[in-house]
């Protein structure tokens, strides 16, 4: 058992446990906190895969922005943040069947894939993943067009949200 495997097993256990707690806890805000722990576990997986930039970007975007937005939404909507009533609804046998089928087929697919048992290839130390990412985002041979399109989309979303939230002048005649 290498150290990486031990770390992976521990982090995977924590992430999965937190994910289960997200859907089973009765208090809504606690679910948001468990979600933050799950996202943190995913960030650690990125680190284990040598993608340091993605790990930090995951923390900044998911935990620093999206999770806080979710918490704000929870705080602004409910008076009593505890769910009362049964945890499952009437269709739970079908849900169990479909999820078991899905899980089984994913396991079968992955066991037939050769990548499961190959070692993680070590990148040569001359390659700086961050620099490669930066260059590929602005190089005409790589991803500059999707990059620009996504920027325009973000700008449209930003302007759209401002227009939606703009206070309307009421004409009183």
């Amino acid at each position: 058992m290498t150290a990486v495997q031990i770390i992976f097993i521990v982090v995977a256990a924590v992430t999965l446990g937190a994910a289960i707690m997200v859907v089973t806890t009765r208090k809504l805000l606690h679910a948001a906190i468990w979600l933050i722990l799950t996202l943190f576990g995913v960030a650690i997986f990125y680190v284990l895969l040598n993608a340091g930039f993605l790990a930090v970007a995951q923390v900044v975007i998911y935990i620093g922005a999206i999770a806080i937005l979710m918490i704000f939404a929870i705080m602004l909507t409910r008076q009593l943040a505890i769910d009362i009533g049964p945890q499952v609804n009437r269709g739970w046998p079908w849900a169990l069947l479909i999820s078991l089928l899905l899980f089984g087929s994913l396991i079968w697919l992955f066991s037939n894939w050769s990548g499961v048992s190959t070692e993680l290839p070590t990148l040569s130390s001359r390659v700086d993943p961050l620099r490669e990412l930066g260059v590929s985002l602005v190089s005409p041979n790589a991803y500059v067009i999707p990059f620009e399109l996504v920027s325009v989309l973000l700008l449209a979303a930003l302007i759209g949200s401002i227009i939606v939230a703009w206070p309307r002048k009421e004409n009183e005649d």
């Binding site: 150290a3 930090v56 900044v60 935990i63 620093g64 922005a65 999770a67 704000f72 705080m75 961050l130």
Partner: protein, 401 residues
């Protein structure tokens, strides 16, 4: 021995290997030991910061400060700690126990995590990651989370309101802070903080002084000190998100705030003042640590100076200032720095510094002129004669003259 810290680390490593432990385990053990020593060192400095804060605020306010306990009041922080520890630990009714107890350690953790990427000297660095600057932004967002948890879990309307305002302020001021943090990254061609320090032959504050000023303002807003401390001021919102916290939990929030101010000082020193660089810091790395903390304390003094001089800013003025002034200025600075850096490539260093300095001064002058014209027009609008209600003219009563 020129480098005592690395020397001790090597000696310890050889000792543990000599005892027969596996090499990976020895590395792990030394890493844990390093983390422990750094954290203990920082928390001890935090205790001294309590004394520094109280003495300096006293001198700014023309009084003496604590001088009864110990020489110059040096034992005062210890008395503060003992008082906080023996206070009753109250949890309000209806408070969410898990989140209520989780928030103070989160706040402290968010501050201590930043020190992992600050190079303390040429050979001492917690984690040499190549995305150091982005890591600092990420850790700042964890601090915001701690405050939301504290505000919500206290089951108190003022606490919740204070937490909302705090988070609004912090996430707003993150925007110009991230943009300004990109400017040293631009100049050093790398996001790794040790690269930024190594590339500062001339300190960055001489090349981009406007960026340094914006970083200072946004960092003070991030840590929630005056003039941006509407969120925890006694007269405004009765201590904001930490109303319900007593005893050592409040002590953790308070200590985290002071340490955050020193951390901001160290960050500013690293990015703009050359970090551990100084005379003879290369040959004697221990001098590097001394220089870094000297610069950090100088910036901490400037932060305290600003705190005890300026009055509080209202929340809407605060957010206005951020979105209408700081963000455009930061964006302009980034674009102009990027363009200028490319245009004057290959020029002698002195000319380079001079040109960048002039460009910064030009941008600052343009902004001040715009603001001055805006204030003039505002003053004219406010100072106009407003129509005043006149009482109806009384008809003279006949027969009385």
């Amino acid at each position: 021995m020129a480098d005592p810290l690395t020397g001790i680390a090597n000696w310890l490593e050889n000792l543990l290997l000599g005892w027969g432990l596996a090499e990976g385990f020895v590395t792990f053990l030394l890493a844990v030991l390093g983390v422990l020593i750094l954290v203990v060192f920082l928390l001890v400095i935090d205790i001294i910061l309590v004394w520094v804060e109280r003495k300096v605020v006293a001198r700014f306010q023309d009084r003496l400060g604590p001088n009864r306990l110990g020489p110059f009041g040096l034992i005062q922080p210890v008395a503060d700690i003992i008082k906080l520890m023996i206070k009753e630990d109250i949890t309000p009714i209806g408070a969410d126990k898990l989140l209520y107890n989780l928030a103070p350690p989160f706040a402290m953790a968010a501050v201590l995590l930043i020190w992992a990427v600050i190079p303390l000297s040429s050979s001492v660095l917690g984690a040499d990651i190549n995305v150091g600057v982005l890591y600092i932004v990420a850790v700042g967002s964890i601090g915001t989370l701690a405050i939301i948890l504290a505000g919500w879990a206290s089951n108190n309307k003022y606490s919740l309101l204070g937490a909302f305002r705090t988070v609004a302020q912090m996430i707003s001021y993150e925007v110009p802070m991230v943009i300004v943090l990109l400017v040293p990254v631009l100049l050093a061609n790398s996001m790794g903080i040790s690269d930024i320090v190594n590339s500062q032959g001339v300190w960055n504050i001489f090349i981009i002084p406007l960026g340094a000023i914006i970083l200072l303002i946004t960092a003070i807003a991030e840590i929630g000190r005056t003039p941006f401390d509407l969120l925890e001021a006694e007269s405004e919102i009765v201590a904001g998100f930490h109303i319900e916290y007593t005893g050592m939990k409040f002590g953790l929030f308070y200590a985290a705030e002071l340490l955050h101010a020193l951390t901001v000082g160290a960050l500013f020193a690293t990015l703009f003042l050359g970090g551990w660089r100084g005379p003879y810091a290369d040959q004697f790395p221990i001098l590097g640590v001394f220089y870094l903390f000297l610069k950090a304390f100088i910036i901490y003094y400037v932060i305290m100076w600003i705190k005890y001089t300026l009055p509080r800013i209202r929340i809407d003025h605060m957010l206005n200032f951020n979105w209408k002034i700081l963000t455009p200025v930061a964006l302009t600075l980034l674009i102009v720095t990027a363009v200028t850096d490319k245009l004057i490539e290959g020029v002698s260093p002195v000319l380079y510094v001079a040109i960048m300095l002039i460009i910064n001064v030009v941008i600052a002058w343009v902004i001040v002129t715009i603001l001055r014209n805006y204030t003039k027009s505002e003053r004219k609008r406010v100072g106009e004669e407003r129509p005043v209600a006149q009482p109806p003219m009384e008809t003279p009563i006949s027969g009385l003259d």
